[in-house]
Symmetry: C2
Subunit: 247 residues, 2 copies
């Protein structure tokens, strides 16, 4: 969007500008700690192209709507949730990624700005409008998706793992107070067993000092009751921009 300096030469090769519709596609993850599964939200396409195939929830950007607003809009059309984390992922704008673009036409192009979101599984309530299929899919069982959405999903999964290691996204998606096992389970579900020993994970995190013990104990079935902890955003501040805090 900036100073495109006209070139004197190659005037003949200068194509006219492309016209775009801009889509927003969301990779929405949640972690089902009860069943140790990482889930991604998929919806069934209700129209051509790819009618009847699963895809990431997306929308086209409307007049007067910011990109991020569009991302929040689809999200809120599909699920009701209080707490979430959302950030931009990547912009896919290759030729021919959308069959609506005829191969050699100078028609409108379709470009997709993808967003990555993490929501609380417990909280999230899917909005089934009766017509459209919508479902949480375990990451391992995701079928072939419409467009290049498998690729976008792949990209989002990589981002999720990084985010978990470097930043406190987990706390955006855990309840206000939680046990250290809750936190550990979330991490193992996403990162896989063996990313760290529970007891080491525990002591590292406590030593960092941004988890405050509420003193309240909670008992879940058998075993010793666990302390409830709270994430202290202020105490975390010095760790911002520091690499590898959580692992």
């Amino acid at each position: 969007m900036a100073g495109r300096t006209p070139r004197k030469s190659h005037l003949l090769t200068k194509q006219p500008l492309a016209d775009f519709k801009v889509g927003v596609d969301n990779v929405i993850f949640s972690v089902d700690t009860a069943q140790n599964r990482l889930l991604v939200l998929l919806v069934m396409r209700q129209q051509e192209p790819f009618l009847g195939q699963w895809c990431l929830p997306g929308t086209l950007v409307r007049q007067g709507e910011a990109l991020e607003s569009a991302a929040y809009r689809i999200l809120s059309e599909k699920i009701r949730v209080q707490n979430l984390y959302l950030e931009q992922l990547y912009t896919f704008g290759g030729l021919g990624r959308d069959p609506r673009e005829a191969p050699d036409s100078y028609d409108v192009r379709y470009l997709s700005v993808s967003y990555f979101a993490l929501v609380s599984f417990a909280e999230a309530e899917l909005i089934a409008d009766g017509v459209s299929g919508i479902a949480w899919y375990p990451l391992q069982q995701v079928p072939q998706l419409a467009f290049d959405h498998n690729q976008i999903l792949e990209y989002g999964y990589r981002r999720l793992r990084n985010k978990l290691e470097y930043s406190p996204v987990a706390f955006d998606v855990l309840p206000e107070v939680f046990t250290l096992s809750d936190l550990y389970q979330l991490y193992t579900t996403v990162l896989g067993e063996g990313f760290s020993d529970y007891s080491n994970f525990r002591s590292r995190l406590l030593k960092l000092g941004f988890l405050s013990d509420t003193g309240v104990k909670v008992s879940r079935g058998a075993g010793r009751p666990a302390s409830l902890y709270r994430f202290d955003a202020e105490a975390f501040a010095p760790f911002k921009d520091r690499p590898l805090v959580f692992i």
Copy 2:
């Protein structure tokens, strides 16, 4: 770009889709190791808006042109260079970031997909077409730029530092063979003195084993001659996706 499921309710609030022109703006860095300066390429705007103000080199995407192709196109219109690293940075699509969008109009929107590039300073040859100003600016001396380009630059600088720590971008921009001091200097220039001791930097890198000593020595003025090393991409492969390899 995906299944936008029609909602039964809110039919009245449904705005028409926005039409976009898509711009590509490049944050092009190079490292002047001789003077220990990190440089960014700026061009002077030749037209309104922001006529006569510096900005990042950018262009609008043409018909039949992929986003990345557009990024490469501006780059090659501004500098001649053999080796470079380029990747997508972020997409800025907020309302009102371009004055050409009237505040409340339903006109065409302007969206900017930014790219981040690192080129070799020694190799890079600026293409001055006589009309347009174009210059390498030391990062500390960058003036106020057109549009939101200062913000984009900021973002690009953060990415550069991360890239340097996590990935072998430096070797895309160093000559085929180089001394360890060359490499160290590049790192200190970008990351600042004190990111690591030279001797520790040296031994860590050599222990990793993807730098092979060519045996050839090179003498630069006074001092003991240095060994020339070569980056071994194959030996590096196992370090891909591993965090913090270089620091």
